[in-house]
């Protein structure tokens, strides 16, 4: 078993537990922004797609990579925009209305 794999499994396990603890504390009030934010963060897959689109490995890889960059970028741009738009709407009764 390659040692990279073992290290990665440890990283995955720790991240899953960390995610569980952090996200458990998110108020149900914000569950919709939570989903759109995690969706934007998961668009980090774009880094893999960027390398594929630019490595010049061949036509197939470049095409698949470019489409993947488009899909992930639309998610990260749209996801961050939408999350921020939603969060701006949450006001307390003490906040003066604009």
């Amino acid at each position: 078993m390659p040692s990279d794999l073992m290290t990665n499994l440890y990283v995955f396990m720790l991240a899953a537990f960390l995610g569980f603890e952090v996200i458990r504390r998110v108020s149900p009030l914000l569950h919709t922004p939570l989903m759109s934010l995690t969706n934007a963060l998961a668009a980090i897959a774009v880094v893999g797609a960027i390398v594929l689109a630019g490595e010049g490995r061949g036509a197939l890889t470049t095409v698949l990579g470019t489409v993947a960059v488009v899909a992930a970028t639309s998610n990260l741009v749209g996801g961050f925009l939408l999350t921020d738009r939603m969060l701006r709407m949450f006001k307390t009764s003490k906040t003066p209305k604009s």
Binding site: V11, T32, P33, M35, L37, N39, E55, G65, T92
Partner: protein
């Protein structure tokens, strides 16, 4: 760029990005710090992308630039959808995320075939299976939410057996490929079966089960990204995917608990299995109907009002009128709170977003557990477009299909008002005892118009 410094710089950028992603989710825990969380996520993302662009393996930036620009052009309108369209937009973005992962996985496989190390082939298979079923499953969910596909669940005999067999075949092919990676045809077949499974998984799901499905697809999309991290040996991706995956997982658990479904039920996608008890022909029972003026008179005389919004409020786009009512009653010294059930709406937290959009302060929004103890001291519970989550049968009638669902105990309020279009039963196809109680007033009409009429009566009556 041959000196190792650039390589270290990239790795450090990834490390900082990872920390920012975790902080981003941590800050999202409260509305006061949540926007800082988005900023942290954006900075992390920018760092990671810039770091990647410095990668020495990249020889050609043209396609990357085209991809980034085109993606932004598509992404901006997706970030500006109206709040009522957020559930379908979210489903669509799960499909896009999974599409990226599936394409990268496919490219990676065809680049390496036939020499794919076993562990990598295993991770690749997981990546492609999860991503493929998420693509079609999410597109189906988005179609149902946008109402371009029929919303009602489509079920047939042996559905679960067929679905699980499809999944089993895909996994079987994956196991074979791990030992014999040199079969591109089988790889594509595995992908095709997973795509088919995604469709089949969402076919039996009705509108009211959407919060669970969207959460589950969220989790699958995250896990597929994590699997991609194993393939590319990228810890940043593994962590981001794991965070997304656990977020979707937690939300699925919360949603399934709120629907009183077991967790295996959720894991195997066997939603919509609530046996619609043939909606036994109901004879018309007497209910008390009331007008907007009568409702307004009772509401203004009340000290404490709890509003329970449901999907019907979203459909009627009544959130702005509801806010007017909130303002009018608050101005008259009435204590108005909102009781929000976890599965109200079509995705987790949808009611909160709609009410926030209408400028209802979030400190007036309460979860089920927080509002239930107060309902017995509440003068009026006003239900707008919610049904099954208010049905007292869930507490008392063990034979009811919704028995055990945690509900909002609105029947404990002194007066109950229900704004509803007609007497049709809710999603579960069962009658709601609440409507026949002596203290229940049925306000028949469109939610937006009716709430507007109540507001007019409240404000008009006494200047």
């Amino acid at each position: 760029m041959t000196f190792p410094f650039a390589e270290y710089a990239v790795q450090v950028a990834y490390l900082i990005a990872t920390a920012l992603f975790i902080l981003s989710l941590k800050w999202l825990s409260s509305p006061t710090t949540a926007r800082r969380g988005v900023l942290a996520g954006e900075v992390g993302m920018a760092l990671a992308i810039v770091g990647t662009l410095l990668d020495r393996n990249i020889v050609d930036y043209r396609w990357i630039a085209i991809g980034l620009v085109l993606g932004s052009v598509i992404g901006v309108p997706l970030g500006r959808v109206p709040m009522t369209a957020v559930p379908q937009r979210t489903a669509l973005s799960h499909a896009f995320g999974a599409l990226c992962v599936a394409l990268v996985g496919t490219a990676e496989y065809f680049h390496r075939v036939p020499d794919v190390p076993r562990f990598m082939m295993g991770a690749l298979s997981m990546e492609v299976i999860l991503a493929s079923l998420t693509i079609t499953g999410s597109l189906m969910a988005a179609g149902k939410l946008q109402e371009v596909l029929p919303q009602r669940p489509i079920t047939y005999n042996g559905q679960n057996v067929i679905n699980l067999s499809l999944l089993a075949i895909a996994i079987g092919i994956a196991v074979f490929l791990v030992r014999n990676p040199g079969h591109p045809g089988l790889f594509l077949l595995m992908m095709a079966i997973s795509l088919a499974f995604g469709v089949m998984m969402v076919v039996p799901i009705g509108g009211a089960d959407m919060p669970t499905v969207i959460s589950l697809l969220n989790s699958y999309a995250g896990l597929s990204a994590s699997a991609m991290g194993f393939v590319l040996n990228s810890k940043l991706l593994i962590i981001a995917g794991a965070l997304d995956g656990s977020s979707g997982f937690i939300l699925s658990v919360i949603m399934s608990k709120a629907m009183n479904r077991s967790f295996t039920n959720v894991l195997f996608g066997a939603f919509g299995q609530v046996q619609t008890s043939a909606a036994a022909v109901q004879e018309a029972r007497p209910v008390h109907a009331a007008t907007a003026d009568e409702a307004a008179a009772i509401l203004t005389a009340a000290n404490k009002v709890v509003v329970v919004p449901g999907y019907g409020m979203a459909v009627a786009q009544a959130q702005h009128r509801v806010r007017d009512l909130f303002d009018a009653l608050t101005k008259r010294g009435v204590d108005v709170k909102f009781g929000i059930h976890p599965v109200a709406g079509r995705m987790p937290g949808q009611m909160n977003v709609l009410l926030a959009e209408a400028d209802v302060p979030y400190d007036a929004l309460y979860e089920s557990d927080a509002i239930n103890p107060e309902l017995s001291q509440t003068d009026v519970a006003l239900i707008i477009g919610a049904n099954d989550v208010t049905n007292p049968a869930a507490r008392t009638d063990t034979s009811s299909p919704i028995y055990g669902i945690p509900i909002l105990d609105v029947d404990k309020a002194r007066t109950v008002m229900v704004i509803k279009r007609g007497m049709s039963p809710g999603f579960a196809g069962i009658d709601n005892e609440l409507y026949y109680l002596d203290r229940t007033l049925m306000l028949f009409g469109d939610a937006k118009t009716f709430v507007g009429d109540i507001v007019k009566a409240v404000t008009g009556g006494h200047g």
